[in-house]
Symmetry: C2
Subunit: 149 residues, 2 copies
Amino acid sequence: MEPAPEIERLLRAADLRVTRQRVAVLAAVRTLPHADTDTLLRAVRAEVDGVSHQAVYDSLHTLTAAGLLRRIQPAGSVVRYETRTDDNHHHVVCRSCGSVADVDCAVGPAPCLTASDTHGFVVDEAEVIFWGTCPACSTADTTTREVAP
Amino acid sequence: MEPAPEIERLLRAADLRVTRQRVAVLAAVRTLPHADTDTLLRAVRAEVDGVSHQAVYDSLHTLTAAGLLRRIQPAGSVVRYETRTDDNHHHVVCRSCGSVADVDCAVGPAPCLTASDTHGFVVDEAEVIFWGTCPACSTADTTTREVAP
DNA sequence: CCCTAGTCTTGACTAGTTCAAGAAAGCAGG
DNA sequence: CCTGCTTTCTTGAACTAGTCAAGACTAGGG
């Protein structure tokens, strides 16, 4: 389903052992960007039978530490992962269904990274999360009101 | 310790019943901005004996819904609360110790609220979190290296 | 003062994640 | 190709933060 050799190359480049579990995890995050751990676990098990949940947690942590994955966690959401790690892009999150989409930086390469007074903190990253309503939910809201409790 | 009448007034203005628990919760968040629920629970119990954790959770939810509190949750952190709700300010979070400080908007009243392409999402808020190292941790890091594992 | 809706207490329960010990597997060197 | 060391995976228990639900209590309008 996924080009395994390419993924294998990525793992070796990051000095990580190539295991079926890791390959499957990385492939899963590629095909399911912004998915949560449980969804990824299912996807991985569809590829490699009998993978333990701990292996998936471990792989996700390792791959994140190696810079192959990026971990995102909007308030009130479980942890989600994506493979776009190089660019400092941001996210829009739907308040209603929790879906996430990528948003490129609006103002140049690293906007908003100029806080007025950071109280002596040494800032290395500015994370921006846009909150709103996704197309599907805003349509559902206006057309079929009173459906949700 | 806190001006209870003032807090009472705030509660009534928000059409909420005035209970000892709520007053204590609101006072606790005032004196301990950015505190997590557990810290607040302890603070509340110091004022009013035997308060249940559920009452604190309920109060925090109710007060947040009424706009008297703002709930923040940086990735990897538990939920925290603060009383500054009117202005759209942001936060700096220490990667090392997790401490949080307020940061006022850098560019005008609502910066960064102009995402380039929001994929059809209707955006109503832009949340900015600055990640870095707090003064205490950066000092500890440079002077007493090798202390932490 | 009484009534009722809203709030609090008590205690069980859940989801998501981490911890720990031993078995299995990757891969460098011979 | 085989060996052995080290990392990774499996298994299964444990933990934390938070939620659910039933009944007792109480704020505040009448």
